[in-house]
Symmetry: C2
Subunit: 322 residues, 2 copies
Amino acid sequence: MSEGLPQFADVVAAAARLGPHIVRTPVMRSSAFDARAGREVFFKCENLQTGGAFKYRGAMNVLLQLDPAKTPVVVTHSSGNHGNALALAARARGMRAIVVVPRDAAKSKMAAIQSSGARIELCEPGLRAREQRLKEILAAEPGEVVHPFDDARIIAGQGTAVLELLAEFPGLEVISTPVGGGGLITGSALAAKAMVPGIRVIGAEPEQADDAYQSLRAGERREVRQPDTIADGLRGFIGVRNFALLQSHVDDVVTVSEAEIVAAMKIVLCDLKLLIEPSSGVAVAAALKGALGEPGQRVGIVLSGGNVDLDLCPFLRGAVRP
Amino acid sequence: MSEGLPQFADVVAAAARLGPHIVRTPVMRSSAFDARAGREVFFKCENLQTGGAFKYRGAMNVLLQLDPAKTPVVVTHSSGNHGNALALAARARGMRAIVVVPRDAAKSKMAAIQSSGARIELCEPGLRAREQRLKEILAAEPGEVVHPFDDARIIAGQGTAVLELLAEFPGLEVISTPVGGGGLITGSALAAKAMVPGIRVIGAEPEQADDAYQSLRAGERREVRQPDTIADGLRGFIGVRNFALLQSHVDDVVTVSEAEIVAAMKIVLCDLKLLIEPSSGVAVAAALKGALGEPGQRVGIVLSGGNVDLDLCPFLRGAVRP
């Protein structure tokens, strides 16, 4: 079921399917931010999505296509938003979720996944260990594997955020999202290129985790040795289906520094009063450095998530505990 | 024009007048927050209003009733959101604003007022010095004085936020806002009591600036010696008209500690991804400590503003500068 490349029709079908099951997130603007960026920027607030990230769209799009009676268990590996999104979607559908989490994942993310009702299975860090643990679990308890990004259903689901954005603001000239495994940028590109001829779609990556940037230029998937970035959602590498769609549907990938990411988070907090996670700050930083389209253009940015471990953020750290 | 007490009809007229001139701010919710508070809480996001605070409603309601040809100049004293709101409203109406600001006001607030196009006139700290400076200015350059809260037109304008909230969610059982000079709580009470019979309206104050709490219990206006609170918008004392309406239309005023205010700000940041200023944290803190209505009730809270000096906030202070 996860084979092949999704098309725009799959994004449209996902939007119809998701309907009342997701939050139709607001689009926010700030004249102060526009002045800084020299562009009219439209922020699609997926940090206000169920679970605090766009990931719920993809996860729910998969689970709504499964029959809980026939597929009572779904399984994935994730140390972050996808794991929590799958847990929340499974609970809403009356299914059980098992999430393989590396031992070194942030305690706050583990706690979120657990409180969303999933069973956590610990593994050693690294993709190999994760996949090995997943196999062991499936041998003991068959279930549907829901990959975080390299799955046509996930890509189609993630594309629904930009479908909503462009349905509301069809005059946008540029669309940008961060690039991790590539589910969001490619789903967004499927929607954007079909809905608005001539629109530019630009991915944004941390300089220190620039595998998609490197891959696009090399013409083949490249991995990065030890990605080291505050943008914890973007440390993974671009998937196979995702890279194919990146080549065919995405105009460019640009990169930003760690300092630019943190500055962007702080500016969004001041100008839009919104908390975004570092991964979301990557596309915002690209806008602020003039890397998204031309001055004066109308730019849509997906604020992908708002799940910040306050104690890990340079300007949110502090003594007060809720 | 600023005499007498406003009525509900004045709030309705203000809403019609303000129409497209203000942001119809979103109402946000969080299941995580509801679980913490044991109530269903509906947040009216005036931190996303023009100028980052509800104050723009009142200021604009006054200026839309003035003819710029006859009244080219408006004057006020304010070290914070009202000064900036009046400056922005005056610019939108083609009028000039003069704002008397005490020398010890935060530099960031002064900069905001100035960049919104107002002329700043400095004075010594304290209400007496502010009013003296205001008189001198009016002698040199006649203009309309727009008081921050003790003005029927201001109170009616501030009430439009709760009018919008209850039009959207008429099932609310409790309404709460912070209490500074009393413009917001009394305007809100005018709207709430007329629209929803039996609804409770509860003001929230810092323990260390509890003049409205003291006044309500004493049956006469009381001032507090040196109010000392992080909630910079709530250090003033309740106005004359405001106190009369507080007695007739507000059910109670409750108080919260400084630590509870800061914890509430942090919880809103985590659960709702929204930055609120300390003054707004006061009503949120009241909800979290169970002081707003009964468990399980539906509570509407006005998030009054989002203008935080990041460097002054205990958990937002940090090395990174935008």
